[in-house]
Symmetry: C2
Subunit: 471 residues, 2 copies
């Protein structure tokens, strides 16, 4: 336990001092030498440590004494408020999807799939292999493990349309999760004080990252087929924005998938505006009845900055995301990533690469898809049956969530509280809006634990809605 025997004596004397009155005289050096079976030099070293720590004071020729302890007092950190000033943006709180619920509730609030949907054995085996490998003890290049860069590039390359050049491995930058990727992209490609078009509603983590960077959000209404391309064109023109953040496939929270026409027209607008599309392909591994084709697969002009994360489909512990960008944008994002976090743990990168290159990974994705469909349908059916006043505009073809419109006038905060009291945790839709919510919504995750409880959860929501419309 102790680094050397003087540390042992320090610990022993601190215990003694804790119960001694201020001013008490410590045993003599000779007595301590005997008590601790240590040399006088070691005892003297221990006493010097205690003096340095302010615990005792030494009066030469007299002895060593316990110092008068100050009375413990509560601190007032008011001076910090003056030093810090007011925050630049609203102080973020703990968003609902990150809350860790108690065990005995039905949790529909989370942003993550239940662990039984994850390739747990693959992940454990990959981490174990990584622990034995060179990755456990070495430092990877700043942009990422070359093989992992190559994998992210090949995944996008496989979807690339004819005549479009596939991305190169060097176009990929590895991040410790997509939140870090978003922050870095917003800093590099947009910048504080500058405008960013953003779907509304959209992922709260993107809103949070954008607010932190201090970019000015320009919301673009987005429905089940994506945004109106004319809205996008007008917003680019009106604001001078040079970037648009979007989730074209199975958007969080709405589940929307842009039609091919919308995708083509938005890409045209982006090109004509000399702008970037920041494509967050968060649900790439969560297609249910449709395969997501990234818009980035249609672009080799450097207009799309593409994000893909493995955190949700591999494991929350394998916090790895890849950003693909070309040209100066790639350089700027890479420089920012380096300034922000230097490099990403090689163990996590090696484990991620191991998982996604196993044949069993494909099997695992197929299983996931097979399991998501009935869960989604079960929750949708339970809502239709028990909560007829809740409206689901579209049952999504992929993703993890249902986006539920509640009756006008619903007090969502109260509804969320009432559900929680009754043992069901749901997320208020308010967190997904970059500006004022356009109506009362819930986002319900159908990939959490215990889908058998979905009907019970739906009944609980119905009862809470009932109370909500009361006095």
């Amino acid at each position: 336990m102790y680094e050397d025997s003087s540390a042992r004596i320090v610990a022993g004397l601190r215990e003694w001092i804790a119960t001694a009155p201020p001013g008490a005289k410590l045993p003599s050096t000779r007595a301590l030498v005997a008590q601790y079976a240590a040399s006088p030099v070691t005892v003297q070293k221990a006493l010097r440590t205690l003096v340095t720590q302010g615990t005792v004071e030494s009066r030469p020729g007299v002895g060593t004494f316990v110092r008068a302890t100050r009375v413990a007092r509560p601190h007032d950190y008011g001076w910090q408020t003056a030093a810090l000033g007011t925050p630049v943006h609203r102080a973020p709180h703990l968003p609902a999807p990150l809350r860790s619920p108690p065990n005995d509730v039905i949790a529909l609030h989370s942003g993550y799939p239940d662990r039984e949907l994850l390739p747990e054995r693959l992940v454990r085996a990959a981490l174990t292999r990584a622990a034995r490998s060179d990755a456990a003890i070495s430092r990877p290049p700043a942009a990422g493990l070359p093989e992992l860069q190559a994998w992210f590039a090949s995944e996008l390359g496989a979807a690339t349309t004819m005549g479009t050049a596939s991305p190169a491995p060097s176009d990929v930058i590895i991040f410790p999760g997509s939140q870090s990727g978003l922050s870095s992209v917003f800093r590099s490609v947009v910048g504080a004080g500058r405008p960013l078009l953003i779907e509304s509603p959209t992922y709260w983590g993107a809103i949070l990252a954008a607010n932190q960077v201090g970019v000015r959000l320009v919301p673009i209404p987005s429905g089940i087929h994506g945004p109106d391309p004319d809205d996008v064109a007008r917003a680019f023109h009106r604001t001078g924005a040079r970037a648009f953040y979007a989730q074209p496939n199975f958007a969080n929270p709405t589940g929307a998938r842009w039609s091919s026409t919308v995708a083509g027209r938005v890409m045209d607008t982006v090109r004509q505006s000399g702008a970037f599309l920041i494509e967050d392909d968060w649900a790439h591994d969560f297609g249910i009845t449709a395969d997501p084709v990234p818009l980035a697969a249609r672009d080799d002009g450097g207009h799309v900055v593409y994000l893909r994360s493995l955190t949700k489909s591999v494991s929350p512990a394998v916090r790895i995301a890849g950003v693909i960008a070309r040209g100066p944008a790639r350089e700027r994002i890479h420089a920012d990533a380096q300034a922000e976090s230097m490099y990403v743990s090689g163990v996590l990168q090696a484990a991620a690469l191991d998982v996604v290159t196993q044949p069993a990974w494909r099997t695992s994705l197929r299983t996931l898809r097979r399991e998501l469909a009935p869960r989604r349908d079960l929750l949708a059916r339970a809502l239709r049956e028990h909560v007829p006043t809740a409206y689901v505009a579209a049952v999504p073809q992929g993703g993890l969530n249902l986006w539920v419109r509640l009756p006008d006038g619903t007090d969502v905060a109260r509804l969320v509280r009432d559900c929680e009291t009754a043992g069901v945790i749901v997320a208020s839709g308010d967190e997904w809006f970059p500006a004022e919510p356009t109506g009362p919504h819930l986002r319900l995750n159908y990939s959490g634990p215990n889908p058998g409880a979905f009907p019970t959860a739906a009944r609980t929501i119905a009862e809470a809605l009932e109370r909500n419309s009361g006095p």
Copy 2:
């Protein structure tokens, strides 16, 4: 390999198409059904995919044809320059200490200890245990694993002086490495456009993070006993700064250790200025002939924001740092950390905690200390012997580096190049200055591989210096 059989057909046809002329007609559906032993539905699905990808076009009733491929052309991403504008701060390049050198050179440039100095077996065992644990598949709280928070708090608490309250586990925020911690602290506690006092010379990573955040750096000259406390007081008064970034123990690059008097006076100044000391205790585990006592151990008024990293003493793969702060500062740093990276991989946190709570960890630190001393002395002796014109102001009592003043007029960039040509990689001291370098310096790491080559390295530096003073 393939997610379904239509993907197999897509892959096969892409190969066929790659060598087919534009306009070539694809085999009929019937032929493909036979060739791939697949159903007509599957073949149709494959063809639709190819149409979507723009590879082929379908003429109903006629057949499917290879589209005219566009000629591959190099891209000009010039439009991005207009969209991105000029960078807010100088574009960071790859700093010397992060370079991965070829195997056959003598590397004195790195910021990391050689792997043979690291507790490799402990790290591998800890990662393997973490792979088996719940941490491999679950999401830890945003601020960190509670047990790891408690460990960081107890480490600082053990040094806390009498009458000063020890930090609480909840005062600790876990980061994916100290670079992320620095970025977050600079954003939260200082902010873009506001002044930050900083030692000069000091750690290049801190300068990089500060530049990225856009804080205004106010350099404070710092020598082998630390800065002049009067300089610090004047700079606080003159600039209105509310924070001072420093490495009071075994500073990187100088190895300086603040005297107790300097430490006390700087703390007084910080308190009187209603300011923060951002204490980067990077070398906590690298004491050689002295034990570092953090200044944070003298403070419970929330004036010290304390950083400690495990990356350099545990493993570069275990990218874990702890930041300890109290009061509103702690809240603001935590909010920033969450917006920036959401949470840190639980596997890395569990592995870090495992390593540092093993009794063998203390043994490993003692071994490290025993091995650093002769390496440091060997390099210092080699320099004295072979490079008499190089001046080392003080052989440090801890840390990993010697800070070497070269003769006036030395062209450091040329010297570094010449050394590299001769097989010795050294880091120019220029990167450690927040403003213009005050003289030609090298930072030489004595904890890298192959200390037996130190005399050879010194002779190489001497020869390069010789050429440097030539025409």
